[in-house]
């Protein structure tokens, strides 16, 4: 790893060795953000005073001999996590001035670990998007090519990490929103098994699919953040009670004898030749490291996009019904009665993509269509999940491309919503099944744009996946490459 890529690990070591204080470190990052954020658009909200106060508290903890591994290390939160006293917008006009009165579980855990919050990162509105073009607060630019998207919906977090404006960030993934932007910006991102990370205080999009996860430069850093983020929370009814685990425990074990499944459906029509080439090279590297490759099939995978675009909008239409201008969020200035207040507040507060998905969801849940669309999609979901269960009899992990192409230009996929939705073709099935999935950088296309390798594991197999990724990162240096648009 070049010294141009500070990691949670390296910064932790610097702080422990007394090479710098948390306040100095935070100030350094604040300066970098001030320089680059206007161009890149990664951050929606920065509050230097609040950040420096956190850093000061961290320095005091260290002086008192109470510093933990991540005390005083700076990072960023996707603006989907409620943070007390901070503006939390979810990329939407609906929450433009919403100052959260409480902390999300993930925010509490990171704070208790001593991490210092640099700000709230930009995102597609209400997490609906694959390019960070739907944010009310403007687009995010890919540090590798400023005329291209960073991916989405966690585009701000991905670009911030890629541009070295934060060593790591939190993201959320409902249909690929951690993995796809990680792939398009050349960083690592992990979506954990559904239920491992509490969704309390994480603004809901599609409750049976949403999951928070870490985004960083290395598998090791993903593990460090997972150790902070994961864990039971009684306030999330879907949070799983499991014994605590150390997500770093399989790092360094190598991949001798690992069976890697390659689904033929991941290498069919629609995959760019450049991406295919990088993935094949990555798999070849794994063979060199001692793994074996097994051909597998996920026969119902093609259905995952239509299934998702029934289920996710349906759940979104329900979740977003809370935005009515009554208790929080945008309220229209002019209305004649309550009904008009609702209709205007929501028409004004939501952007076009969000409205589109609410309408789709409303339709598929409505009388006469519920069985044909929603229930049918839930049945197909079970078929898709079963395919993975079958596949994991033959292999230990599944690999393939994260996205069908590399970072595309602004506006390129905005004309036809279906074109944008197809960016998620390899990631969506993982959310439908509730499995863990990650993306790590594995090469570049002929235009110098990053390519991501997707690693999908069986339920609760995150630690092994991180070990598998770590082995690749010991042998290669894709994850250490720095974009031209990065902070100096």
């Amino acid at each position: 790893m070049s010294t141009n890529t500070p990691t949670l690990k390296s910064l932790s070591a610097q702080l422990a060795a007394g090479e710098c204080s948390s306040v100095e470190l935070a100030q350094e990052y604040i300066n970098k953000i001030n320089k680059l954020n206007e161009v890149l658009g990664c951050f929606v909200t920065v509050e230097p005073e609040l950040t420096l106060a956190q850093a000061k508290a961290a320095d005091e903890q260290r002086r008192a001999g109470q510093a933990g591994v991540l005390t005083g290390v700076p990072f960023a939160h996707k603006d989907i996590f409620c943070a007390r006293g901070w503006r939390t917008t979810c990329g939407s006009r609906m929450l433009e001035n919403f100052i959260s009165p409480y902390d999300a579980h993930v925010v509490e855990r990171c704070r208790d670990a001593g991490l210092v919050m640099l700000g709230k990162t930009n995102m597609d509105e209400f997490a609906m998007g694959s390019s960070n073009e739907t944010s009310y607060f403007g687009k995010v630019r890919n540090p590798w090519d400023l005329e291209r998207v960073p991916g989405g919906s966690s585009g701000g977090s991905a670009a911030a990490v890629a541009a070295r404006l934060a060593p790591a960030a939190t993201g959320t993934d409902t249909g690929g929103s951690i993995r796809q932007p990680a792939a398009l910006t050349g960083i690592c991102g992990l979506k954990p098994t559904y239920g491992l990370v509490s969704r309390y205080g994480m603004i809901a999009f599609a409750s049976s699919l949403d999951q928070a996860g870490p985004m960083a430069h290395t598998a090791e850093d993903l593990g460090l953040l997972m150790n902070v983020m994961a864990g039971f929370d009684a306030r999330d009814s879907t949070s799983l009670e499991r014994p605590a685990e150390d997500y770093l425990r399989h790092l360094g074990e190598g991949v001798q004898g690992l069976r890697i499944g390659l689904p033929k459906e991941f290498f069919a029509e629609g995959l760019s030749a450049d991406v295919a080439r990088s993935i094949e090279a990555a798999v070849a590297e794994y063979r060199r490291l001692g793994a074996t490759v097994v051909d597998i099939s996920l026969p119902n995978m093609a259905l995952s996009v239509p299934v998702y675009y029934v289920l996710a909008p349906a759940e979104a239409s329900s979740n977003l019904s809370r935005y009515d201008g009554v208790r929080y969020g945008h309220r229209a200035a002019e209305y004649r009665d309550l009904a008009e207040m609702y209709r205007r507040s929501r028409a004004e507060g939501f952007g076009a993509e969000v409205k589109r998905r609410i309408l789709i969801g409303t339709y598929v849940l409505s009388h006469g269509y519920y069985d044909a669309y929603y229930i049918r999609a839930q049945k197909l979901r079970r078929l898709i999940a079963r395919d993975f269960v079958e596949a994991f009899r033959e292999c230990d992990v599944i690999m393939g491309p994260t996205a069908p192409g590399t970072a595309f230009r602004f506006g390129e996929k905005s004309g036809d919503p279906v074109q944008m939705y197809l960016s998620d073709i390899y990631t969506i099935a993982v959310n439908l099944a509730g499995l863990p999935g990650m993306s790590i950088p594995c090469g570049f296309d002929t235009q110098g744009l990053p390519v991501g390798l997707q690693i999908i594991g069986n339920y609760f197999d995150e630690a092994r996946m991180l070990g598998v990724a770590h082995a690749f990162q010991q042998a290669t240096d894709w994850h250490g490459r720095v974009p031209a648009g990065a902070a100096a």
Partner: protein
């Protein structure tokens, strides 16, 4: 199946979102494309398959019926558009 402008308007009514004619037309075109893609679902035989609500087939956790939360109304209402005496104010519904 083909959507009509009426379908769009009906969904907008159910979703309590005001949508003008011009916007409805654009939305109709986009939704038609999305529903054409969703139609692929109809080709598959799903007889005998149980719907899957989410990954882990969890049973909803229960807890004792005891008060555990503190009153935070002040904090939560600080972000509301209009309140009075602890109530949220909205336009009159009943004449």
């Amino acid at each position: 199946m083909s959507l009509t402008l009426d379908d769009v308007q009906r969904a907008a009514d159910l979703a309590r979102i005001e949508i003008g004619e011009a916007e409805a037309l654009v939305t109709l075109d986009q939704l038609t494309r999305v529903f054409a893609m969703i139609e692929q679902m109809q080709a598959v035989d799903v007889s005998g398959i149980e719907p899957m609500a989410h990954a882990q087939d969890l049973v909803l956790r229960l807890r004792p019926d005891a008060v555990t939360e503190a009153d935070q109304r002040g904090a939560f209402q600080a972000v509301a558009p209009e309140t009075e005496a602890g109530l949220y104010l909205v336009p009159k519904v009943i004449e």
